[in-house]
Every structure is written in C-alpha cells, then in structure tokens.
C-alpha cells in the first residue's frame, strides 16, 4: 500500500472540485472577495492558508479529546491566532522583507472562516494524519478559486498579470488599447469578485448535476 490510501487521496481531491470550500461549502468567501484584485495577492494568501490550515488541523486534531466542548470555538481561535502570531514574530526577526509582504494577511488569516470551518467540521472528529490531508486538500481547493478569480480580476480590471502589462499600456494606448479597449475598473471592486465566484459556481453546477439541490 502506498502512502495514501484511496480514502486518504479523496480527502485531498474532493475539495478541489465537488466539495470545494468556496463554491460548495461557502467558506472563506470574505478573503476571496477582499484580496483577489491581484493575482500575486491571491497566491500569497493561498500559500499562507495552506500552511496555517495544514498545521492548525493537526494541532486541533491532537487536542480533540481534551478540548472542553463548551469553549471549543474559543480554543480553536486561540490555536490559530497563536500559530499565526508566532510565525509573524519569527519572520519579523529573521526574514524581515518576507514579513512585510505577509503582515497584511495576518488579520485575514485569523478571521478566515475556512480555517475555523475545517477545525469544526473535520479536525475535531478525525485523527491527525487525516486532518492534515483535509487541511491541505481544502486549502488547495481554496487556492484554485482564489487564483482563478485573481486571474480574471487583474486581467480585466488592470490589464496586467502578476504586475506585467499583458494587454499593452492603457495610458500610451498600445496593444489592445490601440483598438479602443478599456480596463473595467469595476472588476477591481469586491462586487465583481462575488459575481466571478458566482459564475464559477454556475459553471461547476451545470457540469455536475449531483451538486444541484432539488426543490
């Protein structure tokens, strides 16, 4: 038997599509709206969440039998906040430039409902290895949506990808701008992120009928 049994593999692949945290579980929407105006911010946030959710799920899973149920949400919050603050402090001391890039994400990670959501729904009821895989799977599913949304918002809103002007210069009127194309500034605002996520949900549901609820 390999490192990952079929069941384990499902923990990783499921959240990528049919059980995606953003489009199906509707977790982590706030950060998906807030930071997807640029592709680079989406990628940084995805990596940060991958780390925090992977480690956090393991920690909560190890503590699952001793956490008093009455205060479990507070305990989860303390675990994730402590983890993030430790990483932030260590980076500030040993990798200052990196910490400058990440510091704006700290608040967004602590309050990200995908983290609390997976602690509550999975790590409290499963062992550490499974919880780790669940954390990785869900953060990859989250990353996929963030990167798709970030890609379209930056491309259509600013005409750039990762800061590179792929469509030409809007002020000098080169590239496609020479033919009268204009950037859509509305794409940079949060409502268009929600609409983009909505379109992804629509595409996903029309391809997979199992996801459509009966009324």
């Amino acid at each position: 038997m390999g490192l990952l049994s079929k069941k384990d593999l499902k923990l990783i692949t499921d959240p990528l599509a049919d059980n995606n945290p953003i489009t199906i579980q509707v977790l982590g929407i706030c950060s998906a709206l807030a930071i997807t105006a640029e592709l680079k911010a989406s990628i940084v946030m995805s990596i940060a969440v991958l780390f925090v959710l992977g480690v956090g799920n393991v920690v909560i899973s190890l503590m699952r039998n001793v956490i008093p149920p009455k205060i479990r949400i507070i305990v989860q919050l303390i675990v994730v906040a402590t983890l993030v603050i430790i990483v932030d402090l260590v980076l500030k001391a040993f990798a200052y430039e990196l910490s400058k890039t990440l510091s704006v994400f700290v608040g967004l990670i602590i309050t990200n409902c995908i983290i609390m959501g997976r602690f509550e729904a999975f790590a409290l009821a499963n062992g550490p290895w499974k919880s780790f895989l669940d954390g990785i799977g869900n953060s990859l599913g989250y990353a996929a949506i963030l990167i798709i949304v970030g890609f379209f918002r930056e491309l259509l809103g600013s005409g750039t990808l990762l800061g590179i002007k792929v469509l030409g210069d809007p002020i000098e009127k080169t590239g496609v701008y020479a033919y009268g194309y204009e950037n859509n500034g509305f794409m940079l605002l949060a409502p268009m992120a929600l609409i983009t996520v909505g379109i992804i949900i629509w595409v996903q549901r029309s391809r997979n009928e199992a996801l459509i609820e009966d009324n």
Binding site: A34, A37, P68, I71, V75, G185
Partner: protein, 248 residues
Amino acid sequence: MAKNTDSNVYTILFATGMVVIVGALLAFLAASLKDKITENKRIEKQQNILYAMGVNENDETSVEFVSKAIVGDEFSKYITKQLVITGTDVVEDENAYLIDLKKEKAASEAENRERKLPLFVGNKEGVEYYIIPVRGKGLWDAIWGYVAIDNQLVVQGVFFDHAGETPGLGSNIKERFFMDDFKGEHFLDGDLFKGISVSKGNADPKNLDKTDFEVDAIAGSTITGNGLAAMLKKDLQMYVPYLKTIKQ
C-alpha cells in the same frame, strides 16, 4: 471516555491553563526577539530614507532598497545632516531618524509643547535633498512615508508604506507606478501651501502637469488615497516655515 470534558470545573481549568501557557509562550517569544526586530526596523528606516532620495537598487519596475549589509555605510555617506526643528529652533541630532513620529505627536500634545520635527539632509552627486518623514491614516491602519525635495522645494522622490491596506488595492501605494508619479510635483503655489492631492479623474493620467498639485489615484483605493493626501497636507505644512529659509 472516563474524562468528563463537559464539566464546568474542567472547562475553567482548561481555559486557565491554556491562557497561561499561550500567554507565557508569546510573551517569551516577543521579549526574546525584540532586539532583532527593533534592529530590523532601524535598518528599514535607513533604507526608506535613502530610497526617497534616490539611493536604491531599482530596476525598471521593482522597488529595491540598498542591501542590509551596506545600508549603514550608505546612510552615513549620503545623509550629511540630521536636523530636529522645534518651532524656530533648529539643532543637529545624528539620531533624529529614530524619532517615533506617532509617539512624538502624542507627547507634544500631552505636554502642550512644540513638536520636534526631524528633517534629513542628503547629498547625492552634488545635489542637496531634504527628506521629510510623514505619517497618517489609511483605510485600515497607519500609513507613513518619506518625501525628498530639492532646494527649489520640488518633490524629487517619495517612499510610502502601510501597516495593513487592502492587498492589491490600497497596498499599491508602495508600488513604483504610484510613487514615481510624485517626482517633480510641486506642493507650494508661490508662497501658498497647497499639498499634493491624490485625485480621481484629474484628466492628467500621464502626469505631465507637475504644477497641478495632483497625482492620479489608484482605482479601488479611494480612502487610502484620500488618507495619503491628508497626510501629505498635514505633515508637509509643518515644515513649510523652515523650508522657506532653504529655498534658493
């Protein structure tokens, strides 16, 4: 399971234990890393000041400071004088760059005295630069920066930074395309102080008009931009009486 994790006594004990452990851990970590973090912040200040006066390792689009290893030497090479202005009184102080603008503002207001204003005088290839530190409020948190001007009181370079503006929107105040727009801008109309506003729809997106007291705003970051303009207006104005004495 034998252990009753639902009992009140257990819950209270668990909560107390957790708070003590987490509190001790974080306090220990913060205290033991404090020196390193303060040192990093000091180096960053020197890098920022040098960046504003054009001493940096930028290529076409990137924001690159002079490296950590040489910043101390570069700082003493390019920054010829550091002044502290208090009312009409001007003294030299080689640690003026360590003045914490936020604390100094609060202290001067509490003690009802004139605020100490740090000003850095740099010299690069024979050109004198006067670098003014500024600090204000963005959308979520503090924003700050350094404005370098020449002896004609024209902006020659700026550096802005922020604590927590929205990534991809307000956080772009520290990107080249925004900061470079300030080069050549005026903030005085003759003797009248105007500041530099960050304006939407100023009909000058190429920023060719350097005496319109405006730069082009970033889409989706209105409040950060307004905060930045207010910061420049408020903080630059305090230096105007002194700056008029250096104008040639």
